[in-house]
Amino acid sequence: MSEVIRIENLSKIYENGPLQVKALDQVSLNIEEGEFVAIMGASGSGKSTLMNIIGCLDRATEGEYLLDGINIKEKKDDELSHIRNANIGFVFQFFNLIARTSALRNVELPMIYAKLDRQERHQRALQLLEDVGLADRGHHLPNELSGGQKQRVAIARALANNPSILLADEPTGNLDSQSSVEIMEIFQRLNRERGTTVIVVTHEPDISQFAQRVLTFRDGKIIGDTRKPSNEKGGNSHAMD
C-alpha cells in the first residue's frame, strides 16, 4: 500500500496578541491508501486544525505535509484549490449543501470546477446519487431532504472527482442514531469496495468504532494510535448496538 498522507513534525501556532496558542504540536503521522481512520479528541484538542491542514484549507506553521507526494507548503492558493478539487472530498457536520440548488447540481459542482463537460458530469452525478441510494432525489432542493439524505448527497458530492481521500468532519454530529449508522456504513462500504481512504473526525467513541485505526488527540498531540486486528477490517456494523 502506498502512502497517501505523510506528516512530519507539524505544528500550527495561532498568534493571539502576545499569546501563542499551539493548536498542533510537532505531530507526525502517516496514512496509507485504503485506510479508514478516525480522529478522536475533545474540542480544542487540535483535531479540527489537523483536519483543515489535511484538507488543504489551512497551512501549517512548521513541519512538512505531503499529500500524494505533493508538498503542500510550496503551493499557491489557487494550486491548493486545484488539489482540494482533485484529491480531497469533504463531508461536513452541517452538510454544507448549496441552498436553492438541486441535489444533482450540488453533486455536479466539483466537476464544474474540474471543467468536465456537461453531459459527462450529469451522467456521473446521477450515478453517484444512485450509489448513495438517492437516485430519485436528484431534483430535490436541500431543504426538501432529511438530514441523512442531505449527508448522503454531500458524500456523493465529495466523491465526484474520485478523490484520494474522503475527509469527514463530525459527519454524524447533526444526525439521529439511525441515520448515523447509515452514513457510517456508506463510508465503510466505500472504503471496502472502492478502496477509498476515509478520515473521520469525531468525538463520539461509537462512531470511531467503524474505523480500523483510531488516532486520539489531546493538547495538539497524538496520544493514542490504535489499530484493530486485520481480520475485523470493515466488519463493524454491530458497533452502534
Partner: protein, 412 residues
C-alpha cells in the same frame, strides 16, 4: 463552460431575490432610459428641423440690417428710412447676380383676423412675388392658381388660402372667387381668393396646431401689403442651391453695403443653414445637460449595485466557503460575482432602453414627429450598463474571492 454556469448561477440568484434585484436595477433603468429617450428625442427633433429647412430649400436666406453690429458701432442709432430696402434695391441685387438669385422680394408680413358670415379666423399673411411656390416646396395648389406677375405688378388685392382655412370659413374647399376682408395698415380691404393650396405638414405647423395656435398661412402679392414708403426691413432671397450659401449671402450683403453707401457689416444675411446650426447647438447643449443628469443617475445606480452585491457576498459567505473547499479558485469566485453584477445591470440597461424608446415614441407621437432611434446609442447604452456592472461589481467580487475558506465555512 464556467461562463455558462456562472450565467445560470447569476440568473437564479437574481430570481431568488426578485424585488431586491429590481430595486437595485432601478438606478440603471432610470439612467439608461433617460439617456435613450433624450438622445432619441434630440435626434428626432433634429431630423424634423432639418426636414423643415429642406422644405424651405437650403438656399433660402434673408438680407437684413445687422442690428448687433450696429449696436456695437454706435451707442445710439435710430434706423432711417434710407437704411431699409426698397424695390430698387431688390432689382439692383437681381441685376448684379442674375445667375445666382432665383427669387428675391421685399419681405412683408401681417397678422389679421378675417370674418365670413359669423365665422372668424386668424390669418398669417405673407407677401410674395410671382414664382414663390417654385421654391417653397411645402405649397401644393389644389384649386385655382398661385399669386402671379400681374397680381404683383398691379398690387392687386388677391389672396391664396390654405385648404383648412377654406373649410373653416366657407365649409368647402373650392372657394376660388370668394372675397375675404383683411386689415392692412388700418384699412379693411376685400381680397379675392384666386387659389387654394394644401400645406405639407411640418414640425412648426404641428407644434402650432398642438398649442392651439390656429392661425392660417395665406399668401398675397407683396406689393399690396407695402407701406406708403414702399420699404421693408428684409429682402427674402432664394439663391443658387448648388453654390455655397454662406458665401453667396456675404456677397449680397457686401453689394448692398456698397450700393447703399453703408460701412462694412451694416447688412447681413441670415441663411436657413445658419438657423439650423443655432437650433442644433441648442439641442446639443440640452443633450449635454440631460446627459450629465443621466450620468449621475447611472453613478447612483452603480453604487446601488455595489451595495447590493456587498450584501449578497456577506449573505453568501458560507456558500463561498463551500465552493472554495470544493475547488473553486479565486478567479472562479471573482467571475461568479462579477457576472452577477453585470447581468443585474445589463437587465436594468435593457429595461431602461425599452422604457426610453417607449418614452421617446410617446413624446414624438404627441408632437407628430417620426421617431429616430439610433441603434448605435442602444448598443452603447447596453454596453455602458455592462461597464457600470463590471466597474461597481469589481470591489464586492474581489472581497468575495479573497475570503478565507475556513473563516467562510465557519460563518453563520
Amino acid at each position: 463552460m464556467l461562463w455558462i454556469e456562472n450565467v445560470h448561477l447569476a440568473i437564479s440568484a437574481i430570481k431568488a431575490n426578485k424585488l431586491r434585484s429590481f430595486l437595485t436595477m432601478l438606478g440603471i433603468i432610470i439612467g439608461i432610459s433617460s439617456v435613450i429617450s433624450i438622445t432619441s428625442i434630440g435626434a428626432s427633433a433634429k431630423g424634423a428641423v432639418s426636414d423643415e429647412f429642406d422644405s424651405l430649400g437650403k438656399a433660402y436666406m434673408y438680407l437684413m440690417i445687422n442690428y448687433s453690429q450696429l449696436a456695437e458701432m454706435y451707442t445710439d442709432y435710430s434706423i432711417m428710412g434710407d437704411d431699409l430696402f426698397s424695390q430698387e434695391d431688390v432689382d439692383a441685387l437681381k441685376e448684379r447676380f442674375p445667375q445666382d438669385i432665383r427669387y428675391a422680394t421685399l419681405y412683408t408680413y401681417n397678422n389679421s383676423e378675417t370674418r365670413v358670415g359669423r365665422t372668424t379666423a386668424d390669418l398669417a399673411i405673407m407677401g410674395v412675388a410671382e414664382g414663390y411656390s417654385d421654391y417653397n416646396k411645402t405649397i401644393q395648389m389644389v384649386y385655382g392658381r398661385m399669386i402671379n406677375e400681374s397680381d404683383v405688378k398691379g398690387s392687386r388685392d388677391r389672396i391664396v388660402v390654405d385648404v383648412e382655412c377654406a373649410r373653416k370659413l366657407f365649409g368647402r374647399e373650392d372657394v376660388v372667387g370668394e372675397e375675404l376682408p383683411i386689415q392692412v395698415e388700418g384699412d379693411s380691404r376685400g381680397f379675392i381668393i384666386v387659389g387654394v393650396y394644401q400645406m405639407e405638414e411640418t414640425l412648426s405647423s404641428q407644434i402650432n396646431a398642438a398649442m392651439g395656435m390656429s392661425s392660417y398661412s395665406v399668401y398675397v402679392p407683396f406689393s399690396s401689403m407695402l407701406s406708403g414708403e414702399g420699404v421693408s426691413s428684409y429682402i427674402e432671397i432664394y439663391g443658387n442651391p448648388d453654390k455655397d450659401v454662406r458665401q453667396q449671402g456675404e456677397a449680397y450683403a457686401n453689394y448692398m453695403n456698397r450700393i447703399k453707401d453703408k460701412p462694412e457689416d451694416f447688412y447681413m444675411v441670415e441663411t436657413a443653414e445658419g438657423q439650423q446650426d443655432i437650433i442644433n447647438q441648442v439641442l446639443g447643449v440640452l443633450s449635454v445637460a440631460i446627459g450629465a443628469i443621466a450620468a449621475i443617475s447611472l453613478l447612483v445606480g452603480g453604487i446601488g449595485i455595489m451595495n447590493i452585491m456587498l450584501v449578497s457576498v456577506t449573505e453568501r459567505t458560507r456558500e463561498i466557503g463551500i465552493r472554495k473547499s470544493l475547488g473553486a479558485r479565486t478567479r472562479d469566485i471573482l467571475t461568479q460575482f462579477l457576472i452577477e453584477a453585470v447581468i443585474l445591470s445589463v437587465i436594468g440597461g435593457i429595461i431602461g432602453t425599452m422604457l426610453g424608446v417607449g418614452i421617446a415614441a410617446l413624446g414624438m407621437s404627441i408632437a407628430g414627429v417620426r421617431v429616430v432611434v439610433q441603434p448605435l446609442v442602444v448598443v452603447l447604452a447596453v454596453l455602458f450598463s455592462a461597464g457600470v456592472g463590471l466597474f461597481f461589481g469589481l470591489f464586492p467580487a474581489r472581497r468575495a474571492a479573497k475570503l478565507d475558506p475556513i473563516e467562510a465555512l465557519r460563518y453563520e
